[in-house]
Structure formats: structure tokens, C-alpha cells
Amino acid sequence: MSKVLVVADIKQGDLKSSTSELLSKAKAIGAERAVVAIGGNIESLSSDLANAGSDTQYIANDPGLELFSAGPYTTCVVDAARQFDADMIWFGFSESGKAVAPRVAAQLDAACATEITDVILEGGHIEVVRPAITNKVIQRVKINTDKLVAVVRAGAFEAVEEITGTENVVELSPPESDLKAVIKELVSDASGEIDLADADIVVSVGRGAKDQAGIDLVKDLANDLSAGFGSSRAMVDGGFMAHNKQVGQTGKIVAPTLYIAIGISGAIQHLAGMNGSKVILAVNKDPEAPIFNVADYGIVGDLFEVVPILREEIKKLS
């Protein structure tokens, strides 16, 4: 029986949905399941971690782990992987996961695969499926080692309702801090905002919105819908939106129920981050914009005119 260690995705003290999604997949392939949770103030999470579907919870809880630092986080995951004797270590999609997974693989002499959308146990070896070349193709990759470290693409696995676990906490000793790469500060504007990765609806703004006034207009729509508020790269490079709001190949991968793209052309790098959404609505004044090739519903029009009407019509629904 294979043993899967899932690295818990914790943001601002909350356990994110990817953790139970990954544990559900582990259950589906008949694996023994554990989680490792790392953070500064997470003692209260153990029952959530069990309920997400794990039977062992490795917990590294230390004030020094409050801010993300790849070195110490790696040490914790490697420690848990060795204690559990994991043959697969799965991270949910996150920047921290992408930073830590290759390090864990190097330390465990394991293979590493990122952005995977499926895992198959095939005649004694592991295979994974993942997109490549800006999502233009899909690769089937054979793993030649006994151990695999993987980062799972957002939205790849679904959580099953009936998953349960048992609480069995193993405390990890706090790792040494990285004295050669010292995290000094986290400049954040995300507090209080809806996390893009978790949001049911995501509204994203592109260069079509032009400036701050345009962004505010689109943001009001996001607020009305209690939606996550994202952006194309153009608005991040323009200095209007924070890096961690960027949706796309080099930003966040999102797969919400509804994705609303406002004034976004639909470059392949942007599509790579959102074309797993269930339903896509696009507003663009150019009827030939490539975003319409992936949008389920398209409104050809000037966003400055359309967005206020959109808000009015949506308000009428409630």
C-alpha cells in the first residue's frame, strides 16, 4: 500500500480546501494518509487536519515558522516524510509548495513533478499527467524512483464529502532557521480579502481598465459578488495590482465556478491560469479578442459601460 504525505495548505491560520482535495485523491488510490502542517500558530488545527482526511498529523508549530522560509519548511517536510516513510509527498498549488517541493526531492533522492493533474499507479511504478508548454500539450511522465514529490495543480482533484480521518498528532521539533536567507518582512495587502485560490467566483481585470479608476470599477463588481479579485500581468507590471493577484502561467492558477475576465485579451499565458474554470464570462470591446475563444459567455462592449449594468443586473437577482 502506498503512503501519501500531504503538505497542508495553511493561509492566515486557516486550512485551505486543497488539503482535503489531495487527501481525497490519496484515499481514492488506496493510500495510507498523513499530513504535515507547518506554521507559527496552528495548535488548534489538528482536528481540522484529521477531518480533512488524514490519520496522522505531523505538526511543526513554532513562532519561527510564522513567515514562510523555504529552508526550514523543507526540513519539516523531510522530517515528516522520513517518520511516515512516505513514498509520495504532495503539495497543493502554492508559491511555497513550488519553492519547497524540489528541495524536498533533492534531499530525499526522489523525483519531482510540478503542476500535476493526475497520478496513476501503473504496474509497480508511478506515472503522472501534467500540462506543459504553456498548457499547449499534456505530458504523461513515468517516475523512475520509488519516491515522488509532486505539486498538484489547482482544481485537479476533488474533495469527497465522506472523507474522514483520525486524530493522531506527532509534534515535529522546530527546524533551525536559515541564517543565509533571512526573511525580514512580508509586505501584504491581502488581509481581509478573499483568497483567489479558494474563491467560488473570480473577477479579473486587464489592461482594458486602463487606470486606478477602471480597476476600482471592476473591483466593485468583485465585491458585490464576494468574489476573489485577480488581474492580468499587464496590470501587475503597470504597478496597479499586487503580484500575488496575477492569474496565469507565472501567477495564480485558479479554477472557480465562475471566472469573469474584464478587459483581458486572453493571451495563452493568462489562459494557462484560468481555463480550468467551470464557466467563463468575458467582457471585451474587441469581438476578435482571443478570450472569446474560451469564454462560455461573451459580452462585446466597452467595460466602462458594461460593468455598471452588470452590477445592476446582478443586484436584481437577489
Binding site: G71, S96, P131, V187, N244, T250, V300
Partner: protein, 260 residues
């Protein structure tokens, strides 16, 4: 400061990809410098210009990389190393990292800058694994670099909850995101000078890697098949009076798609 920058040649992602019998059809493919590596090159050249540095690039595999390396010379990189060997045909990230480790150890570098991922695999592993092999401090997804003194740099990393500010002791490795800069276009003078510059091409033996080392480093993963990705189809597109079509679409979102 001595800077080593890694660059890889990749397929041009803007072209249409065709998959036949589990492989990508190579016909009509064009190859370009990986966009993230181009940003790594630009970052190195800016450090050279602003703080004084010696810049070297290394590229592993890719066949004839002359044009790409000359382009980097024209941007301002001073030295170029190209490692090419048939044994690297099936290389994965960990093997690339092993080869880059050998290159690093032959120089006396203070800073390694790699792109955070390559456009052909989108794996994002090689730089980070290289840092592990070298035991160097590493920060990935860097969007700004500041030199503090001869021994320290301060970098901004785009993280999950915001921008992380990290102070690093040199020697160190960083992987950069494309948003760190806008790579310059090579100018005529640079292009002319680049033509005269030499590229150091080596096979694994010249690098001091033995056949045993290579077989010991069998790829940990291998691509067994390519498939065409599922393409989404465009749905209904509405043109006309904004008030009418917007009301119509909201109704469809609520009652047809049932997502509002």
C-alpha cells in the same frame, strides 16, 4: 561580484503545437531563449552596470545555441559556456542541475541567477535543485534585487500572502520571474561586438564528468507520451445594445449555467 546565469533554448510557445503518435511534431517549430532566462540575463547585466560584476552564462543542451548566446552577449553578457553531449538527450531537471553544479564549481561565482521555470516544461525545478546540490541559500520567484554590500543582497519574492523581503548571504542562488524587468533589445553595436566573441563549447568529458557519473544520474522521471491538451470551445458571444445583452447574459448565468 561574479555572476553565473543559466539560459535554455525552448520552443516558441506562441506557435501552434501539433501532437502525433505521442510526440510533438517538430516540423515548423522555432526555438527561442526561454523568457524567464532572458529576464535572468537582463538582471545580470543590470547588476553589472549598476554595481560592477563579471557576467557568465551557461547553457546545457539545445543543439546549436550560437544565435541565442550571441543575443545574450549583445545584451551585455561577457562570457558564454555551452555544454552539449548526446548523453544529455534524456536529461531531467536533476541531471541538468548536476551538470550546472560542475560548471559552478569550476568558477568562483558569487551569485547564480536562473529563470524560475522554462517554457518547454514549465517545471520550475532546475535552479532550486541546483542550489540544494551546491548547498547555497536560495530564493525563488524573485521580482527585485538590491545589492547591500559585497557579501549580501536583498531580494523581493512574490509569495502566497504578499511580497517577501529576504536578505541573502553570498554566494547564493536566485530564480527570477519575468516581471523582474523588461529585457532590453540588443543594439547594433552590441550585435556587431557579439559576433567576434567566442563561445566555450564543451562535452561532458571536457567538463570532467565521467560516464559513471552520467549513468549514476539516470533521469528520475521521463516523458513517455505527449497528448494534445483539451481545448475549450467558445460559447455564446453577444453584440449589441449594452443594456440588453448584459441583462441577457446575467439571466443565462443565473438560469442556464446556474453560477449566479
Amino acid at each position: 561580484m561574479k555572476i553565473l546565469t543559466t539560459v535554455k533554448k525552448v520552443v516558441d510557445v506562441e506557435l501552434t503545437m501539433r501532437v502525433e503518435d505521442g510526440a510533438i511534431v517538430e516540423d515548423g517549430m522555432q526555438y527561442v531563449i526561454n523568457a524567464w532566462d532572458e529576464s535572468a540575463v537582463e538582471a545580470s547585466v543590470q547588476l553589472k552596470e549598476n554595481n560592477g560584476a563579471e557576467t557568465t552564462l551557461v547553457s546545457v543542451g539545445g543543439g546549436d545555441n550560437t544565435d541565442m548566446i550571441r543575443r545574450c552577449y549583445a545584451m551585455g553578457i561577457e562570457n558564454g559556456i555551452h555544454i552539449e553531449d548526446p548523453a544529455l538527450d534524456k536529461a531531467d531537471s536533476s541531471i541538468y542541475a548536476r551538470v550546472l553544479q560542475m560548471v559552478y564549481e569550476k568558477g568562483d561565482y558569487d551569485l547564480v541567477i536562473t529563470g524560475k521555470q522554462a517554457q518547454d516544461t514549465d517545471s520550475g525545478q532546475t535552479g532550486i535543485i541546483l542550489a540544494e546540490y551546491l548547498g547555497l541559500p536560495c530564493v525563488s520567484n524573485v521580482v527585485a534585487i538590491e545589492v547591500l554590500d559585497g557579501q549580501h543582497i536583498k531580494v523581493s519574492r512574490s509569495g502566497d500572502a504578499g511580497t517577501e523581503i529576504v536578505e541573502m548571504e553570498l554566494p547564493a542562488l536566485i530564480t527570477v520571474d519575468v516581471s523582474i524587468n523588461e529585457p532590453r533589445l540588443p543594439q547594433m553595436r552590441g550585435i556587431m561586438m557579439a559576433k567576434k566573441k567566442k563561445i566555450e563549447v564543451m562535452d561532458l568529458a571536457a567538463l570532467g564528468v565521467s560516464a559513471d557519473d552520467i549513468s549514476a544520474a539516470a533521469p528520475r522521471s521521463e516523458i513517455v507520451e505527449y497528448m494534445a491538451s483539451k481545448t475549450r470551445k467558445g460559447g455564446q458571444k453577444f453584440e449589441g445594445e449594452p443594456a440588453d445583452i448584459t441583462a441577457q447574459v446575467v439571466d443565462l448565468l443565473a438560469n442556464e449555467a446556474k453560477v449566479l
